[in-house]
């Protein structure tokens, strides 16, 4: 799958008209400089040789140099990716902790008022682009109520803890700098919320429909006939069958947040990979774009793989048929 993605990205990068070397160096560069640069990027070699260099680079963790930052893009990616990871993990937490219970309630109390409220929230989540959420949340919480900061990962006078994982919240907890943790939390709430809302809507819609489906099953009636209490049915007996198919989609939603992170990081000046990616696109920074897309696709594929493994483990039908 990753090989396929790498070919796709490679093809997109190569077939589209325009000379990346010329774009990178700008109109003032001499033809000689452009040629030199083309050689450096292996652009003068035949296409399969180019792909070979590209793959070799990926496997060695060397994706070339960024035209814009003049650093190795692998270094750039490892600088910016943790910020994004922190953001989407936080957003995913919100999605799961709010979206799933909302969906369970809606499915359980189908067509009651709580269902309608939950569906309205999900619908608004789904139909509103995350950058619009970002703007709305910013106006309400950062400007109107003035209780949360507007941009960045930390306040200007706060020093980030020494890097362990690159996730500031976790690093600061490990190092015991709890004031930094609180500052970082304050900064992450709005972007994470903006990012999570559309995924949250999807998560709760899906949970709802799976829960309703399970509640129509014979084994739920059977459970009632055997005196299970409703709480136990809702939290265990119906939940497990409903959540297993939901999990696959949650994994997809989680990975898809990387796409929406582009929009949210842009609004909140969040120094993550998506912001780096947008910059790369604006500066036609070929290696940086490739690296960004590759890391996102890799993340996407790995997330799905993990989810598939978890689902296979949880679902006895798959687990036992594998043996």
């Amino acid at each position: 799958m990753l090989i396929g993605v790498s070919i796709l990205i490679f093809i997109i990068a190569r077939i589209i008209p325009g000379d990346p070397a010329r774009m990178a160096l700008g109109p003032t560069a001499t033809q000689e400089m452009v040629e030199q640069y083309r050689d450096k990027l292996h652009l003068n070699d035949p296409i399969h040789v180019q792909y070979w260099f590209f793959i070799k680079g990926i496997t060695q963790g060397d994706l070339g140099e960024s035209v814009y930052t003049k650093r190795n893009v692998t270094t750039d990616v490892s600088t910016y990716f943790p910020a994004t990871l922190e953001l989407i993990i936080f957003a995913a937490l919100i999605m799961v902790c709010v979206g799933v219970p909302l969906g369970i309630l809606a499915g359980r109390y189908k067509d009651k008022s709580i269902d309608n409220i939950s569906r309205l929230i999900s619908l608004l989540g789904v139909v509103t682009p995350s950058f619009v959420w970002a703007v709305f949340l910013m106006i309400i919480f950062a400007f109107y109520l003035d209780i949360l900061p507007v941009a960045g990962r930390l306040s200007q006078d706060t020093v980030a803890p020494d890097k362990i994982t690159g996730l500031i919240i976790i690093d600061s907890i490990i190092r015991g700098q709890f004031d930094v943790t609180i500052d970082a939390l304050k900064h992450i709430i709005l972007p994470a919320l903006a990012l999570s809302l559309s995924a949250l809507g999807q998560a709760s819609r899906l949970t709802r429909s799976n829960i309703t489906e399970v509640y129509d099953k014979q084994y739920i009636e059977m459970a009632r006939a055997y005196g299970y209490n409703e709480f136990k049915i809702a939290t265990k007996y119906a939940l497990k069958p409903a959540m297993i198919p939901t999990l696959t989609i949650l994994g997809l939603d989680f990975a898809a947040m990387l796409g929406n992170a582009f929009l949210v990081e842009f609004v909140f000046a969040w120094p993550g990979i998506a912001k780096y990616g947008v910059q790369a696109i604006l500066y036609k920074d070929l290696n940086a774009i490739t690296a960004t897309t590759m890391i996102i696709a890799t993340f996407f594929v790995i997330t799905n793989l993990i989810v598939d493994l978890v689902v296979a483990y949880l679902n006895p039908k798959i687990r036992l048929s594998g043996k």
Partner: protein
């Protein structure tokens, strides 16, 4: 026309107020953007118009949603922005749906090697988050409306391939397909006369729902400056430019933002209504 309103389908559809609201939103927006030249108070504000004395006016009875830094009416620009959005949505789906549908039909109907190749490629496209794919395509193209349409179409067709593929695979084993095979109908006949018509309810529903989501993605691209360029009015661009002047000139980003929400909501409600009406899974 009156016949529609008397039909059983309309009765069922109109039972759900949300679907009717969706239909209303969509029809109003479509009509307004078609006749934008006559219906907006300041049609000339859609282009590179400058009216410095009236710049940065808050919402009022003259300028419903206020004016921007160079005095253009936000309301008029939103209506013209809808026109851009709808144009983008229609073109994207006109490209993506036929490509995706025919690939899905071919892969699902013939199976075997061709199935494997088409569905592998589809899976690869689906394994990149949609917006990221569009962005990486846009990265190598000039940011224009046409290119944005190409990029979004490129990421959209696989969803139709997968939908139609699954439908074709199950329809292929239905009695009416098998019986027309037995009487010696051509592949062409079976695909286009037997299978495709039975996919139409799902297709129409998905197209309606997607219209909203294509508009959403399109506005996201232009929000990042990678789609429609000024002075063409576009909702995403307006939010992006307006957000620079937060919080003082809030109306420049809030109203276009709401406008995107409303149109996507409209198509979504309408699509959900159709989904219930046709009783299809998407």
């Amino acid at each position: 026309m009156m016949k529609i309103f008397k039909s059983r389908g309309w009765y069922k559809f109109s039972k759900n107020p949300l679907s009717v609201i969706g239909l209303l939103i969509v029809s109003i927006i479509v009509l307004m953007s078609i006749f934008a030249n006559y219906l907006t108070p300041f049609p000339e504000h859609a282009g590179p118009f400058v009216d410095i004395p009236n710049k940065i006016k808050p919402p009022s009875s003259t300028y419903f949603f206020g004016t921007d830094k160079i005095g253009r009416d936000t309301f008029s620009r939103i209506i013209f922005g809808y026109r851009t959005s709808l144009y983008l949505g229609v073109i994207v789906l006109c490209i993506a749906v036929p490509i995706g549908t025919s690939l899905g039909l071919i892969a699902g109907y013939f199976g075997g090697k061709i199935d494997a190749i088409i569905m592998r490629i589809t899976d690869i496209f689906l394994s990149i988050p949609p917006l990221v794919l569009a962005l990486s395509i846009m990265a190598f193209l000039k940011p224009t409306l046409t290119n944005a349409m190409i990029a979004v179409s490129m990421m959209w067709w696989p969803w139709y391939t997968r939908l139609i593929y699954n439908l074709t695979r199950s329809l292929k084993n239905e009695g009416f397909v098998i019986s027309s095979k037995i009487v010696g109908a051509s592949h062409f006949h079976i695909i286009f006369r037997e299978i495709l018509p039975n996919c139409s309810a799902s297709l129409i529903t998905k197209i309606t729902l997607d219209m909203g989501f294509v508009i959403l993605i399109g506005s996201s691209l232009s929000f990042l400056g990678l789609g429609v360029q000024p002075p063409t009015p576009d909702l995403g661009t307006m939010v992006s430019q307006g957000s620079k002047y937060l919080p003082d000139i809030w109306w420049l980003s809030v109203f276009p933002g709401l406008a995107i929400l409303v149109i996507v909501l409209g198509f979504n409600l309408l699509g959900d209504g159709l989904k219930d009406l046709f009783d299809v899974e998407i």
